[in-house]
Symmetry: C2
Subunit: 216 residues, 2 copies
């Protein structure tokens, strides 16, 4: 059975304005290239999530790991606004958000990222769209330019074909698999922080795949 | 649910003698080290299966691919005898069998193997037995010595933890993942040849994992 979930992007009135006004959101992000650390109170390892959606994963990470700086990236105002709303009553000085298309990731960061999270990314199921997948060599090349030293990518998805493709793409590009679960919720994984999608799909009984890869 | 399948090794009367008498079985295999090709009528790429069990996989491969030479390896007389019995009425000049423990694989072969098949290998679930897994670095080191040029390993299993471990072990050792299926019977895979175990576990509804890795 193939289940197709259509994600409707609702127009949220005033979203763009509210996003730009939030102190959590980095605007004129290209001007910060290579010096994102200056936006945070403490200098710390920088972890980014590309495609953070409504932000549950990165917000919970920021709360749990105060000694890591986090930046969440999301393309759509109507989605990122949900994260901004969640953050209204929080005081997190180790989290920032950027509204941007991941295609431009290497125009925003330069040799300053320690870990990239790819959670439930768009699978782009058609072969001719493979280059758009966030784990394609097209993107891995961009990531090369934004990593500080060791390269580390942590991916979760419920999409089997995207996961198979990603493992091949990572190892073909020289990454080694350091942690791997083909059924996350059957393994003992107390530190897992779920995304909104993950909660839904896990509850529906789908296996969640997770991998951590790195490259020297 | 964890299902434990106990494999009883029956004592098969006269198995050792019947195995030794078969023209398919290589005896004094150490004397052939580095010159296995001389046992076959045609010089051809050499593919071996370590732990062939009752032999369905390698026998069907030998029938389907006459231009490849195959050697099946199995430790137990009481198991290899089943393959010998199946072969009694066949005339396959591209298949040989060896009764031996895989631990000694590098005492038997030298720079002459093109592909290794590991099908439904013993998972050795306890951490302290990890070195006994056929995909551990202990074995990968032995395989280095027996491969002719490019190294290629094709693995199938229904054991999730063994598969996760193996993908990490392979990529940690420098192998790249070239083909991957996390649910073989849901993918379009017309050339698949099933082992006896695979038939049983697939029928019970378990996903079958398959990977092909190589290393320059």
């Amino acid at each position: 059975m193939v289940m197709v979930i259509e994600v409707r992007l609702k127009h949220v009135k005033g979203a763009a304005e509210s996003v730009e006004k939030s102190s959590y959101v980095i605007i004129e992000e290209e001007a910060q290239k290579g010096q994102m650390q200056s936006l945070f109170i403490n200098k710390a390892p920088l972890h980014i999530e590309i495609g953070m959606g409504k932000g549950n994963f990165i917000i919970e990470n920021a709360k749990k790991y105060p000694h890591i700086n986090f930046i969440g990236i999301e393309k759509y105002d109507s989605v990122i606004i949900r994260a901004v709303q969640k953050l209204e009553e929080e005081k997190l000085d180790n989290l920032k958000l950027i509204r941007m298309d991941a295609t431009n990731i290497d125009k925003i960061f330069e040799k300053e990222v320690d870990t990239i999270y790819l959670n439930f990314s768009d699978p782009w199921p058609k072969d001719r769209h493979a280059k758009r997948r966030l784990s394609s060599s097209t993107f891995l090349k961009r990531y090369d330019a934004i990593f500080s030293k060791e390269k580390k990518i942590v991916m979760k998805t419920d999409n089997r074909h995207l996961f198979e493709y990603s493992l091949m793409s990572f190892t073909d590009y020289g990454y080694q698999i350091k942690e791997l679960s083909l059924d996350l919720y059957k393994d003992d994984y107390p530190d897992n922080i779920a995304t909104e999608y993950e909660e839904k799909f896990h509850t529906l009984g789908y296996p969640i795949y997770r991998v951590s890869v790195n490259k020297k």
